[in-house]
Amino acid sequence: MVTAAGTAFLPRARLDALLDLLREGGRTVIGPTVRDGMVVLDKIATVADLPVGWRDVQAPGRYRLSDGHGDRVFDIVNGQMSWKQFIFPPRQKVGEMKRSAADGSVSFQPSAPDPSRLAFIGVRACELAALGIHDRVLAGGTFVDEDYRARRDAALVVAVQCTRSASGCFCTSMGTGPEVRSGHDLVLTELDDGFVVNAGSSAGERLLARLPGRLATPGEEASVSAAVAATRAAIGDPVATNGLRDRLMDQLDSPRWAQVADRCLACTNCTMVCPTCFCTSTSIGSDLDGTVNVTERVWDSCFNPGFAKVAGGDFRPRREDRYRQWLTHKFATWVDQFGTSGCVGCGRCVTWCPVGIDVREELAAIAPPALPVERPFIRPAAATPGRFEITTLRASHPETADTATLTLVPSEPALLAGLPGQFVMVDLPGFPAFPISVSRYATDHLLLTVRGAGPATAALLNTPIGGQIGLRGPLGTGWPVDRALGRDVVIVAGGIGLAPLRPVVDTLLAEQGRFGKILLAYGARTPADRLFTSELTAWAERGMEVLQIVDRSGPGWAGHVGVVTNLLDQRDLGSRPTIAFVCGPERMMQATTSVLRDAGVSRERLFVSLERHMQCGIGLCGHCQMGPFFVCRDGPVFALTELGDLFTREGI
């Protein structure tokens, strides 16, 4: 006997003792058992009824069992039956209507729940999650399915942590397993010679206290962690769930629905084996003389032809409509209705689809995840506040009335190894450090283009030639210039926003043959406020298209006047692969990215650089937080897909 609080070890030879305990008080034990070449859930009288030594091999549309694999009891993974069979039966009488033969009067009698007391053994983590989802769907709202609730309350749950997985498993992606976390009374993890047992409820603790055996050793507990971790590793992360709800709902018009419908038989297997599908129909059965009518709740499926039918017609007449309904409900609208995904990643719909439609494949094809943005890590010369690298001011070149480009020579070469779009923190005596984008990297120096906007930047601009300036960096993410290989590149800059984009132009022009056409659209306040004016001309001579526009015209200006989007409005950028880098005031970037999207540039190839208050520059001080991001560390360059609707949202 072991203490209630401990982790117990139950030798395999004593598993019968657990079954006996579960049967106390007249409970029936239900667990996996092999029948007709399948594993079904049924009454378990002895350990011999459990699938000892059996293993399953699953693939889309394929399920095979084989025995003789030693004496492990729970090496099979999921069969086609789920536990909803027992707490939400396929056919359940809900009431009876009687017509009196004597006077024709009618009486209704709802069925009172009368569940048998069951104990489930072998419930996997994904199944526990499914029970939790049903608790919300059927018993967590305004109206409750009384029969479900009674059955659920009457059931004891003995979970088993998975030490094997099937090819259809994706609990890891759905966040439901393979670790058993909650919803169980007891949980077993099978090792070579027995089970490590933990309690998950007070009922479980009482059982555990009466279980024969001993406390588990630290070594056994470590083996449990290792075995479950190995299962997790074997499953991997097959479904990208980040943003899945929105990605899916954006694809209601995907051509893929029709393609998958060509394969789908609408056989309803996926919904029958799904542990969370809960749609039912009410069926009325009558005896021959019509005196007794029995009302039953019967499992139905959104794949059935009559499921969405009304007198006037069928709302989902096509198979593609029904597949879309099922998939979007399970993975998207379920979240809106019940605050959780409707999928637990058990993989049954994959294995038991007769034509092998793999929901993981369909999700990836219909709602592909945004391409991950590759972020090469550049080790900064000095990262943490308090440290800095000394640079010497070699030259200062005025750009406009209030802006100059400083040539800084570092003794530490790592400062010169940054990416286009990265920034440095500038340390001056007497001022808090502030971020400035690098506007050019050269072999022995770097350039910072600085606008005098206040005391600190004024002090920087007033540093005498030969003066020393402390820098930390390069920091943050850069423009992903490698993603531009083979593509047309659109660079849109507003005002001082051209400075962090100049290293992009440098890189593109240095290896011009590797990229498509390059367009720079540059908006400035007035002609006199333009940066790098002589270089703009030189870039155009080297084959870039350079367009400039000003908000306010000025003397001698015969060029474009207006907002920078005017330069892009008429363009078709969707017919060739195009990538865009945009930097300027946020409102300008909002208008620009909107026009670029309309012109055909996809959001995952639209990059912006954000400005936020930064103090540490390395994601520790918290000033630059924006939603899930530290702009200094995770940005300042982001793809539009990364930012989602945070981009330009007020007050974030």
Binding site: T457, I549, S553, A558, V561, Q570
Partner: protein, 175 residues
């Protein structure tokens, strides 16, 4: 069509059949948003002109004598301010229009329209445009919303310019 006494040269007719004019109109931002019926009717009455830099197409405050779609080149919209000379408020990019006031009372130009480059324009005489809008309901149904959209885009752009987004922001001072 009577042309204003601009110093710059106005070319003679660029002879083009109506059908291909409608096609060219359809390839512009403005024309792409019209019905094919509207494009055909407009093209039938329109002239294709090439103008030199400096050519004045409309004068601020004067009757709007013509409505046009810029096919190629660049036009400036200018207003005169006493004591401050003439300011270019915005430029018209290819695909966009000028002379929308030809359709809106009091039919007077809100700015002076000057070609900054050699430009190709599709011109419609103001009276002819108003006649079309009056007599052809199907055309008016597609042309009015498009005109309003053009004016609205210009209004939005002007507001953005007024925001002076590139102006220097004050540095954040933590002390």
């Amino acid at each position: 069509m009577a042309l204003p006494g601009a110093a710059a040269r106005w070319h003679g007719w660029v002879v083009t059949a109506g059908g291909s004019l409608a096609t060219r109109l359809g390839s512009t931002w403005f024309g792409a948003g019209l019905s094919s019926h509207a494009r055909e009717r407009l093209a039938a009455l329109a002239e294709l002109r090439e103008v030199d830099p400096g050519a004045v197409l409309l004068r601020e405050g004067a009757d709007t004598e013509r409505f046009g779609v810029l096919l190629r080149g660049l036009l400036a919209l200018r207003v005169a301010v006493a004591g401050r000379g003439t300011a270019t408020l915005m430029t018209v990019e290819p695909g966009d229009i000028f002379g929308w006031s030809a359709a809106v009372p009091p039919y007077r130009a809100t700015s002076t329209v000057v070609a900054l480059e050699t430009s190709e324009v599709l011109l419609l005489e103001a009276g002819a445009l108003r006649g079309l809008l009056r007599d052809d309901e199907a055309l008016a149904l597609t042309l009015y919303p498009r005109l309003l959209e053009s004016v609205s885009r210009r209004l939005t752009a002007t507001r953005t310019q007024l925001l002076d987004l590139y102006a220097r922001d004050r540095e954040y001072e933590p002390w």
